[in-house]
Each structure stands twice: as structure tokens, then as C-alpha cells.
Amino acid sequence: MRRMPQKFIRPFYVFCPIFLATLLLAVPACAGERFDPENVYGPRIKKLCMVIITNSDSQVLAAEKGELDIVSDITRPSDIDRLSRDPGLSMSLARGFHAFFILLNNKSRPWDDPEVRHAAAEAIDRNNMVRTIYSGYCEPINSWLPPVSPWSLPESTKNIYDRGSAKKRLSEKGYKWSLTGSLIYPDGTPVGKMKLLTPLARVAPTTAELAEQIADSLRSVGFPVDVEPMDFSAMIGKLDRKEYSLGVIAWSMGRNPDSLYSFYHSSMDIPGGYNMTSIHDKALDDALLRLRYAKNRTDAEIASKRSQLLLAELMPSIPVYSRFSVSAVSKKWKNVFFNEKMTADNMWTLLMAEPADGKERQLNMVLAEEPRNLNPFVASSAYSWQILGLIYESLIGTNPFTLDDMPSLAESWSVETVSNEGNEHTRLTFRLRKGLKWSDGSPLTASDIKATFDFLKKNSIPRFYDSVKNIASVTVKNSTELTVEMEGTSYWYLDNIGGLPCMPAEALQEVKDWQNWNPIDPNGKFGPYGLVGAGPFMLDEYRPGEFVMMKRNEHYRMLEKKNVRAE
């Protein structure tokens, strides 16, 4: 590794991320101007083909040849640079939900001391990693929520790299360095060799490379760290049993902060639970509890801020960086939408895109992995849900400009806390839009929504289990209004319920065995043939290994004549 002069670069790194943050946020929505998400007419294409191409080289070549119109989530910097030079493609860059963390075992020495954890966090040369492995296409973060989330704090993209400060913290705590530069505990015993668990290079090649650099960074301030690659499930097992010292993990974070409860509350430090750092802190527990069971938005915001500040103080795990999401869209299409929060491969583009030359044809988008199963009760991969997300809609959607909640099937809703004999619980009321239809033309009413929630709860469908387990009852007031009574109070019940995919009662009745149901098998005995939803597209054909063909849902709500055509 080219040894940069190991200097104190603090002033530079404090000012610039804030500068960057303000600049990125100030960049206006591009390509497609600002549109009113409530008044969109679409989808305007009749056919959408999701082409299954697992090989990155093939994706790039297909895009250059014009066989692919949208390539999403381009990870390799060489691909990004190459496609950016192609005159027929326009690129977009946005912050994503991806994050890379170093997990520390807070129960074992030396990670039981928050000062030591901070020292380690400051020792990681994030900028160098970003440059050498991603050629700059990601940003260092110091946040436990993705910077793109509306709930994350302003300083979430601060780069805290400062080796001098790291060493200072350690020496102030009484640590010393041996002649070889290795750390010695304040009591005089040398710090034993520590292993950094990482997934295999075959499964996660960049994670493995990064792990080496992290180990290097930590060794440069004295931590005797060695990388130990292992099978991913073996690694998760060790993390779960807390048989580790350090581990690296990369995952997609959620928008809402209540997931922090699952990761950092002491009650989640159980086998199978997500508190893999084993942090037990009373103040943090209190803040996370308040966050998880917040009654309304204001309480949630206060608790969210407090939790994140506490996490920054305690540093149970070390956030390293978050990868930008880069995608390429062919210039042969107009009305492509992207901004600093989402790249061009989003739902709004699919709704509004039209061929630039006016000649109607299908839109080809890449699907990076086989979706395998299109049964919404069983499918768990992100790629299956890329398809299913086009077929099903939920009560509440996401605003493309703020990433906050926005009306989807429900035109309005309310969250109330109801007192009943001293017990409080949350009541959610949803009012549906008028005139909604399913893709087979039948009317969409509140009874269908109730049927969906009842089905998911009755069958304890694992994927939706946590969202529906607290439903006490669902009542239908009339064809467009329904009330959901929850057990206990939590502001997040709104997003949990509001994000569930809605299905017609008629189709649900025909599902005899939800586990074995194969909706694309015409001779299937376990359920109906086909998927009926209220989303913009319907499934046309699934050729395994090749493509998934979607066609426009002619009954989609945004195709209503009264919607203004946004140019």
C-alpha cells in the first residue's frame, strides 16, 4: 500500500463533508424537472422487460450495444467510468441505503471500553479505502442510519479519521506501545492477537478487500488484528454466539430508525437476535425503547435524535462508508427521473418514461439475479421483490423528493393513541382513494385490505410477521375506510401496516396452501394462476434464466383520465 504521510488532517475533514452535504442536498432534481407526484400519468410504456443478466461485464456490454435501457446499481468503478463515456447513456448518482460496518464484541477486551472503540473508529483511513477500492464512488459515514434517510442526523457523513486523536485516546487511557508498535494494556499485559471475521472473497469480494485495509489501519495504531475469511453463515453463527473480536458486515439499512432497536437494545442480545455487538447501556436502552414505542411523530423524532447521538457517543460498532448508487439510462428515453436521493432506475421513471423518438417499444431493464420465486408470501430475495413491487401497491408510498410518506392506495390516514381502561394503544385509520380497481378490473375496497391483513396475520407469514403481529383487530367502516387497532403504542405501526402489499380478497380465498402456491403455474393446485395487484404493472411471462416480462396494468390508478399529463 502506498504509504501516504500519516498526518493529522483534521481541519480538512471537518469542513469538507459538511460542504459536500450542503452541496449535494442543494442539487435540484434533474432530468424531468420537478413534478407533482400526486399528478402523474402513467405508466406510458406498454411492456417492461426485466432482463436477467448476472454477469457485470455482460450488463455493461448490453448497455453499450443498446440492448439494455436501464442498468441499475453499477458497482465497479471501471464500469462506471466506461459507461460515463458512452454518448448514448446518461448517468445518475445518488446516496443509497447501503452501509458497511465493523462490528465489535463489546463484551470482550479491549472493546468493552468506549474510548478504545472510538480510537479504533478514528484509526480507519476511510478516504483511502474509498479511493483505492471504489475510486471515490462512496462516502465515509459516521451514522447508524443511511445518510439518505430523512431521519439521519446532519453530521452523518463526517469522516472522523484522525490517527493522532486515536493514539491520544489510547495513551490517555493508559495504553502503551511495545517496541514493535503493538498495544499493551494499562495493566502491562500485551493485547493478544485479534481476528477480524469477514465473508469469503467469492461471496463478497469488495468486503474481503476492505477487511484487509481495515486490518492495516488498525495495526498502524497498534491493534494486532488479522483477517479471517470464512463462510458467511459460519461467520453469522460466530457473531451470534459472540465468539468473535471484530467482524465486518455490509448490508442495506432501512429508512426508519426503529430498526436501531433490533440492533442495539440489550433485550436483543439473544441467540438469533441482532444485537451482535452485545451492547448493554441503560441510557441507550431507554432512548431506543422510547423510539420503538413512540406515540407520534414528534416523540419519534426526539427519540431518534437522542438514540443516534448516544450511539455516536458509545460507538458499539464502527460505521465506515456507504456506497453511492450509480445507474445508467439510455438517452433514447425521455422523462427519466432522478435526484440526489434516488437514481434513474426508480418507479417514477418507469411510470413516466417514453421513447424519445416517439416510436412505441418495450423498456429493457436489468435484473441482476434470478428472482426464483414470485409467491409474495414466500419470496424473500430483493430481486423477487423488484418484480413484486411493480405488481403490488401498499396504502402508503414514498415521496421521491423527501423520502417521507406519501399517499398511495390510501389518500389520507391518521394515527391516534386511544386510552382504554388505563391501557393505551395505537389506532390507525386509513381512507382509500375512490374508484380504485384491481388489475383484473374488479373494484378495490377496504374489505380487500382487511382480508390481506387478516390473511397475513392468521398464517404468520414469516416475512410480514413482525409487521402484523401487533394487530389487535381490523374493522371496515365502509368501502373506502378501515381502522386498524394495534396492541400497545408505536408510531412505527403506521409504516409497518402502511407498507404491506395489498391483495384482493377473492384471490386470497383461492389460495389453498400459501407455502406451495406457485402463481406462475397454470396447473397449480395450491392457489390461483397469476398475481392480481393494484400496482402499475402485471406479470406477462417469466422465462427462468432469461427475463421477466411485465405488461402495463390498464386499470392502474394513475392512468385515470383526470390525471394531468406531466411533461
Binding site: V51, V203, D231, F232, S233, W251, S262, G273, Q515, P544
Partner: protein, 325 residues
């Protein structure tokens, strides 16, 4: 006599299959972790994961899982894949045609080419033709298969875009049976070409050695002395003699073709049994991996048995004495 030998071989084949079954089961269960534990998603609380484990049958005691496994293997009802929750048998069947086409065409082409070249080499001892064949055989056997495929892709799909880079069907898909067939053949050209190029060398060398030995035998001398035409001598007599070993090798090369398929399918992104196996093993998909291993073991044992039977039919010495006391 013949019967006893045959039944003996059959019995030992069944024994081998049983041993492989047990080994497979142990191997997978011994591997740490299960398919469910790797899901890191706040939407999946520990209770949700336990629920998932129940559905997959992962919470049953090991012995019960073992008996279930044996029953499944014997009745060919392999259950549902963990990764896709669809019947394993259906998944296997959907991927079989592509892999079979690939393996069958490349096996046929490489053996045909190799045999023809081997005979030619044996007939042209010491001449340039033989030396070329020997060189070619040695060289192609030294190339790592995936390297040849990568180079072919680089040259014939990228630098000179003659062939497609991946997959088996173009986007947008062609219409009409003839176009579909031609499109499929065009997509399969590079994989089949690469497998043939790598396979023919071994065949050529082997057949050349066999033919050289056969042509040196006394009966060939006799046939020539009797005045038979060269063609009759070579193809009618010498070649017939070496048919049994060729058939044997043909049958025994089947299991090895699978490894080739795994790599070829991942290089060309083809939807076949090879990639199915790769994904099943890395994804801890016990039903799929178990089924795939079992089918492969079955194919191997059957082809070995057939090879032995064929050899035994042709060469009585094998049955009577020499091998097993």
C-alpha cells in the same frame, strides 16, 4: 457364471450408492450454519426466523431429518428448495434440457473429432500429421477450460462481436420456431465450441495409443496377410477391438462433464444444472444440493455399471477370472 458376476457388480453398485447418500447427508449437516441464519433484516426478528425454520423442517431432530432424507431420495420426491420454495424436481427438470444439450453436443463432437484424429494419427506414424495431433492433444489438455472460454469471449464476443456474450436467448426474443432455434444455436455456439476444443485432444491421444497397440496385434497382421483392404483392416478389425474401451471411457466421462458444465455455465451465464449446483451448495439449500448430488451419484454409478457390463459382455476374461477372486 455370468449371472453371479453381474449380480455381484449390481450389489456393490448399490452399496456404493448407499455410502454416497450417507456421506452427502453428513457433509451438509456438518457444515455450519443454516439457510435461515444468514438473513440479516430487521423485518426478520428471531421469532420470524424460528417460524421460517419450522417451515423448512430445520427444527426437527437430526435423526428424523436423516430418515426423511433417505425416504425422499428413494422416492425421488426431493421436497422444496430453500432458496426458491419450489419443488426441487421441477427446478432440476427445468434446467436439465440446456445442460443436456450442452453436454451431449460437446461430448459427441469432441469424441467424434478426437476418434477420427486419433485413428488418422495412428495410421500416419512418424509423419507430420501424427506429430500435429500429438501436439494438439497435449496442448489442449493443458489449457484450463475457463481460460479458453474467457479468451474466446474476449475475441469472438467482444473484440469482434460475432457471438453473443451470454445467455441462451436474445432480447427481444425472436418469433417463430426457426428463428428461435437458430438464435439458440447461435448462443450455444461458443460454449459448445470451447468444450469441444478442450475435449478432442484427450480423445485423440487416447485413441491413437489404443490404435497403435491394436494395429500391432497379431490378428491385424493376419488380416493383412489374408489380403484384406486397408480400410477393412483398420475399421473392420482394429477399430472394432478398441470399441469397448472407447465405450467405457465415453460412459465414464459423464460425471466429469458435470464439473465442466459448472464452470461453462457460470462463465456464459447459462441457466443449467451446473449453476443450480453451485447456488445450492453456497446457499445451504439442503434439499437442492442433496438432490443434485444424489442424481449425479446415481448417474455415475449407473454409467460405471453399464461400462463394466459392456466390457464384460465383450471381454469374457473380465468376468471369469482376473478381477475379483
Amino acid at each position: 457364471m455370468k449371472n453371479r458376476w453381474f449380480w455381484g457388480r449390481l450389489l456393490s453398485s448399490i452399496g456404493v450408492l448407499a455410502a454416497v447418500l450417507v456421506l452427502n447427508f453428513i457433509l451438509f449437516r456438518v457444515m455450519p450454519g443454516d439457510a435461515v441464519s444468514t438473513i440479516i433484516d430487521p423485518n426478520f426478528s428471531p421469532e420470524a426466523k424460528d417460524r421460517l425454520r419450522e417451515l423448512y423442517g430445520l427444527d426437527k431432530p437430526l435423526l428424523e431429518q436423516f430418515f426423511l432424507y433417505i425416504k425422499q431420495m428413494l422416492t425421488f420426491s426431493f421436497g422444496l428448495s430453500f432458496l426458491s420454495r419450489k419443488p426441487v424436481w421441477d427446478e432440476l427438470l427445468s434446467r436439465l434440457p440446456g445442460t443436456l444439450f450442452l453436454m451431449a453436443t460437446s461430448m459427441f463432437l469432441s469424441s467424434a473429432l478426437g476418434i477420427w484424429l486419433g485413428i488418422k494419427a495412428a495410421l500416419n506414424r512418424g509423419k507430420l500429421a501424427e506429430r500435429i495431433v500429438l501436439r494438439a492433444g497435449a496442448v489442449t489438455a493443458s489449457f484450463p477450460g475457463f481460460f479458453v472460454q474467457l479468451v474466446l469471449i474476449m475475441l469472438l464476443a467482444r473484440t469482434f462481436p460475432i457471438f453473443p456474450l451470454r445467455g441462451s436467448v436474445s432480447i427481444p426474443q425472436p418469433v417463430g420456431t426457426l428463428s428461435v432455434t437458430l438464435d439458440y444455436l447461435w448462443h450455444m455456439a461458443l460454449p459448445v465450441l470451447s468444450l469441444t476444443l478442450m475435449g478432442f485432444g484427450g480423445w485423440a491421444l487416447y485413441v491413437r495409443n489404443l490404435m497403435v497397440k491394436a494395429l500391432g496385434e497379431d490378428f491385424v497382421l493376419m488380416a493383412r496377410a489374408r489380403g484384406l483392404s486397408e480400410n477393412r483392416v483398420v475399421y473392420g478389425h482394429a477399430f472394432r477391438t478398441i470399441l469397448p474401451p472407447i465405450l467405457t471411457i465415453l460412459l465414464m466421462s459423464v460425471p466429469g462433464l458435470v464439473s465442466g458444465a459448472v464452470i461453462t455455465e457460470s462463465v456464459f451465464s447459462l441457466h443449467g444444472v451446473g449453476t443450480f449446483l453451485l447456488e445450492a451448495v453456497s446457499g445451504h439449500d439442503y434439499p437442492s444440493a442433496g438432490a443434485a448430488f444424489y442424481m449425479l451419484a446415481l448417474i455415475t454409478v449407473i454409467s460405471n455399471l453399464l461400462a463394466d457390463v459392456v466390457y464384460g459382455l465383450v471381454d469374457p476374461r473380465v468376468r471369469v477370472g482376473g478381477r475379483d477372486q
